[in-house]
């Protein structure tokens, strides 16, 4: 009993401490968030940011989806054609980054890849950022994932919902996601496993939706696919994913 309390106390203090330390950092903009991204136009929020949301949605999905529904909220829903938001999100779902010139022909690449896309505006209410998209992805095996993200300007994005669990992932760091059943597992059990991997944990958070919980661990390093598979072998874990931080320190002027 006291061991569990000790762990809970550690968790509480660590979370508060890391949030205190990292409030500034998660709000901080790198020079190259401001002067950047290097991107294909025309809009940093409606094109570049949109592409990033699609890019990370694909990773959450674990594979390229077969059927996609793009539900565009607010300004996204109103000006998506002229801002090429649709091309950008489709490009992201195909793995294209904001600077990729392939975004211009994303629909053609989607057709080649056998990915069907439906697009429509949606009103998610006043509390949702006016540059938001909910991406619903269905796979050939029938599995389904849903990601909502917002494009907050200058190409920056925040993932706000993953499979109905609320979150605030701004991708300042790489991010490990573990979706698990909270009836049979405890977030601390998974954290213990992650701690053993010698990674620098910047901060972590746990979100819940009914009997599902999502552990979000922001780390400095890159994860190997074996670690992901190892985590998925834990009983009660639905899936594990690694969202790689997109580096601002790549050179483009070649």
């Amino acid at each position: 009993m006291s061991k569990v309390n000790g762990h809970m106390l550690f968790l509480a203090i660590f979370t508060v401490y890391s949030y205190h330390l990292n409030f500034a950092m998660s709000e901080s903009w790198s020079v190259f968030d401001v002067i950047g991204p290097v991107m294909v136009g025309p809009s940093s929020s409606h094109t570049a940011g949109a592409a990033k949301i699609g890019y990370f949605a694909r990773i959450v999905n674990g594979q390229q989806p077969k059927e996609v529904k793009l539900l565009l909220h607010g300004s996204f829903g109103k000006v998506y054609h002229g801002h090429c938001t649709d091309k950008a999100i489709i490009g992201g779902l195909l793995g294209f980054l904001p600077h990729s010139e392939k975004i211009r022909d994303a629909e053609k690449y989607a057709e080649k890849a056998g990915m069907n896309v439906e697009i429509s505006p949606i009103d998610l209410g006043d509390t949702v950022h006016p540059n938001s998209v909910r991406i619903e992805m269905t796979n050939a095996d029938g599995s389904f994932h849903r990601v909502r993200g917002k494009s907050i300007g200058g190409g920056k994005i925040v993932l706000r919902e993953i499979d109905k669990v609320d979150c605030q992932i701004d991708m300042s760091y790489s991010c490990l996601l573990v979706m698990f059943s909270n009836r049979s597992l405890n977030a601390l059990d998974i954290i213990e496993r992650v701690k053993k991997l010698n990674v620098h944990i910047v901060k972590f958070d746990v979100g819940n939706y009914k009997d599902k919980s999502l552990l979000i661990v922001e780390i400095r390093e890159h994860f190997s696919t074996e670690i992901i598979h190892e985590l998925e072998r834990i009983d009660g874990v639905d899936y594990a994913r690694f969202l790689n931080h997109i580096s601002n320190y790549d050179h483009f002027a070649t």
């Binding site: 002067i35 136009g41 025309p42 607010g74 300004s75 801002h83 320190y249 002027a253």
Partner: protein, 297 residues
């Protein structure tokens, strides 16, 4: 405990410069802050900044070849204006005609889905390249010196991003052309050897005079009024810099101007916050163009 060099206000930025002997310019602080945030060395940061400068040069070169965007709302304005650089009939100095035409050029590149550097956004991506590249050419600055200007512009941008936003959907074009103009004002001021305090005043003057700017793009494209706004935004930034140069100060300090920007954003309805449902977007011409473009589809 040693100081953090991260700053979220102009006040903090200037305090850091006053407190530390080795920090003399805004770009000095930005280098230190970026190193603290990312762990990259000064050399790596500068090299990366010069890379972005080079991408901006390419965008500006590419834009000069644009004859027309798909919609026809952006044509060869950049080329047209650049033909008048040094023409005595212009009221603006040759530097400003050059800078404005180059800003138009980058926006032309953006309009045809070319590669650009968002600075801080794509809709405002012409102002900083226009100003800095023109100054580099006319004053003979090296890439390293010009990159310093770029770092200073980022510093002002970081403050705006921290207190406010770069999202036109939230704050209209204040957040894009307003922010970019304020950033460029500080950048050109630092290149001119003005003090950090003067650079910040230049930014305050630039931003102050863009408050309330609507985002009402015709047909939802980043073309009208966006492209030409970048040309005027360059001149706006240089005017603010000249005013600060002669000692004119902003009565309202920069940080408070950014807070005012937030307040004004709250008072702006969605119709003028990047939904193309107000202002120019619903003008007679705006509606006509929208209709024509829908027909074409």
């Amino acid at each position: 405990m040693s100081d953090s060099f991260l700053f979220y206000s102009a006040e903090r930025l200037l305090t850091l410069i006053n407190k530390h002997d080795e920090l003399n310019t805004i770009s000095d602080v930005v280098l230190k802050a970026e190193q603290e945030l990312t762990g990259h060395t000064h050399e790596e940061i500068l090299a990366n900044t010069i890379d972005r400068l080079k991408v901006m040069k390419k965008s500006r070169e590419m834009g000069m070849t644009v004859k027309s965007s798909k919609s026809g709302m952006v044509k060869d304005e950049a080329k047209r204006m650049s033909d008048f650089i040094g023409n005595e009939k212009m009221l603006l100095s040759p530097l400003m005609v050059k800078a404005a035409s180059w800003a138009l050029s980058v926006m032309g590149c953006n309009a045809v889905m070319g590669t650009i550097v968002a600075a801080p956004t794509a809709g405002s991506s012409g102002i900083i390249p226009g100003s800095l590249l023109a100054m580099q050419e006319d004053f003979g600055f090296s890439d390293e010196q010009t990159a310093r200007g770029l770092l200073t512009s980022a510093g002002i941008g970081m403050i705006i991003a921290s207190i406010s936003t770069f999202s036109a959907a939230k704050a209209g074009c204040q957040a894009e052309v307003g922010a970019s103009s304020a950033m460029a004002a500080a950048a050109v001021s630092e290149l001119r050897g003005m003090s950090p305090k003067q650079c910040v005043h230049a930014s305050a003057l630039a931003l102050k005079n863009m408050l309330g700017l609507a985002c009402d793009p015709i047909a939802g494209l980043v073309e009208v009024p966006c492209a030409k706004r970048n040309a005027i935004g360059v001149c706006h930034a240089m005017t603010a810099s000249d005013m600060a140069y002669v000692g004119i100060e902003s009565v309202v300090p920069f940080d408070e101007v950014v807070v005012a920007m937030n307040n004004i954003a709250k008072n702006m309805t969605p119709a003028i916050r990047e939904t193309s449902t107000g202002g120019l977007a619903i003008s007679a011409t705006g509606k006509k163009i929208s209709e024509q473009l829908i027909q074409l589809k």
